[in-house]
């Protein structure tokens, strides 16, 4: 199993390790609920070095990325990032990802750990018609996420990058705790916060300095368990649960990511047709009205017939109820529609609710 460069620090802090797509990662430290609430109310530090990083550069990089992704890469200037996807010709997901524009003609793609090899092959295979160089730097990059309302206060004394001026989805390069880093105001929790990337072979001081500086703010180290409950409350998609190569971007309710006017891209024809004619099913958020937790793959029934299964589903530590995402046939997707979830042989009532389940209070 692979370990990140921060592994020894996590072990020292009592992280309970599990295997996650070939990586030995902490699932929890002090407990999912306390970690979750620390991020909502104070701050949390995540090691997300297992994520994949791909560099794309060369004179035709912009055209190339416009071809591979549905969002408009031309809108990015150096120092900006966007949420987007690698789409198949069918308008479904090879993966979802972030694109960072580092310099004109030089971009960083940040992809899911579970897909990083597949994504690199996909990008490299499509590169032959373009003057671009594609490099898989997943092993070289480490990445930490510092999330929560106290994130800026914790990070600012550790870097000369002015963080107060950094807007959401903006980035800057500079030193953090003496380590050369790329800092972006991004995250996967629904809170304010930062992601810090570094290619330093010994980035340990980053972890140590943030933990030390965060102590007086109530910062906790956070495992994959709370990472999942946090992102689900914010209705951020998880590849493999909520989206994959069988779900289109429109079914996944990600129309805001698609910029049809930018010109052609992989899957555009299918998505445009779906956009005009409507989709047959759509992902919706639900809450369970009965006790229990609707977990991934549990059957979803409408009128007694199984129509689908739970994509993501968990207990929401913030709302203190069971929430989840599911694809339902159009006609069953209105807010307030009730259906049933099979919970280990018993049926529990569920109701379609507005999403995101959690929205952070305006600053």
């Amino acid at each position: 199993m692979k370990r990140t460069r921060f592994y020894p620090y996590q072990q020292k802090l009592g992280g309970r390790m599990i295997e996650f797509f070939g990586w030995e990662m902490p699932v929890e430290y002090s407990g999912i609920i306390s970690e979750h609430m620390a991020v909502r109310q104070k701050a949390g530090l995540f090691d997300v070095s297992h994520m994949g990083e791909i560099h794309v550069r060369g004179p035709q990089t912009l055209d190339f990325l416009q071809h591979l992704t549905p969002n408009d890469v031309s809108k990015l200037t150096p120092g900006q990032a966007q949420y987007t996807a690698l789409t198949t010709p069918q308008g479904t997901f090879v993966d979802d990802m972030l694109i960072y524009c580092l310099e004109p003609g030089f971009y960083l793609l940040v992809v899911n750990a579970s897909n990083s090899d597949k994504d690199f092959r996909w990008v490299a295979d499509h590169a032959s018609r373009f003057q671009v160089k594609v490099e898989n730097l997943s092993e070289a990059y480490s990445q930490l996420a510092l999330q929560g309302p106290a994130a800026e206060k914790i990070l600012q004394p550790l870097t000369e990058i002015p963080l107060a001026d950094m807007k959401s989805f903006h980035t800057a390069q500079g030193r953090v705790a003496g380590i050369d880093s790329l800092v972006s105001r991004t995250g996967y929790t629904g809170e304010d916060g930062f992601e810090v990337y570094s290619r330093d072979p010994s980035p340990g001081r980053l972890w140590e300095a943030i933990v030390e500086r965060g102590k007086s703010y109530g910062l906790l180290p956070i495992g994959l368990g709370a990472r999942d409950t946090l992102r689900l409350e914010a209705k951020l998609m998880l590849y493999g649960n909520d989206i994959d190569e069988t779900t289109t971007m429109l079914e996944a309710d990600l129309k805001w990511v698609i910029k049809f006017k930018k010109g052609d891209f992989l899957g555009r024809d299918v998505l445009l047709k779906q956009s005009e004619e409507g989709v047959g099913r759509k992902i919706v958020g639900f809450e369970l009205l009965d006790r229990g937790i609707a977990r991934p793959h549990y059957p979803v029934l409408v009128g007694g017939e199984q129509v689908s299964q739970v994509c993501s589903g968990t207990f929401s530590p913030f709302l203190k109820k069971s929430i989840g995402l599911v694809y339902l046939p159009i006609g069953q997707t209105e807010i307030g529609t009730e259906f049933e979830v099979g919970l280990r042989g018993q049926k529990a009532k569920a109701r379609v609710v507005p999403t995101p389940f959690y929205k952070r209070p305006a600053a």
Binding site: V27, E28, G31, I32, I33, S34, G225, T229, R291, G292, I293, R295, T314, F315, P317, R344
Partner: protein, 130 residues
């Protein structure tokens, strides 16, 4: 850690026998494996249980787990506090986090289960496998 006057099962339940009665719960090892418990499904008072019969489920954020009766008997009480405060199972699994009381069918039956020392060795064995 594990009270010397309790008996333990391989499914990580404990039973404390007091004459014709017994108290049943899950072990500290079980609660640590589950993490934060958020729902506990309890048996009904008056239910007649055979040893190894399922008595309900304990559900944490991470997982759902069946709980089995370590011995046979009739449910005489359940810990109703767990409905409002399931975290008692994490905080005090061998005490305030008890699950049910039983009127025992065969008071000697518990003696076939593991004692504290045996259970601790059993856990060490599990640890080596992982």
């Amino acid at each position: 850690m594990y009270p010397g006057d309790y008996y333990y099962t391989k499914d990580h339940e404990w039973v404390q026998v007091k004459g014709q009665e017994a108290i049943v719960g899950i072990t500290d090892f079980a609660q640590k494996q589950l993490g934060d418990v958020v729902y506990v499904q309890l048996p009904e008072v008056g239910a007649k249980l055979a040893a190894h019969q399922s008595i309900g489920t304990v559900e944490s954020v991470k997982a759902v787990s069946d709980v089995f009766s370590p011995v046979s008997g009739e449910v005489s009480a359940v810990n109703a506090e767990l409905a409002n405060a399931p975290e008692l199972l994490n905080q005090d699994p061998h005490g305030k986090g008890w699950i049910m009381k039983l009127k025992l069918t065969a008071p000697k039956e518990a003696e076939t289960l593991m004692k504290a020392g045996d259970y601790e060795r059993f856990l060490e064995g599990l640890d080596k496998q992982t």
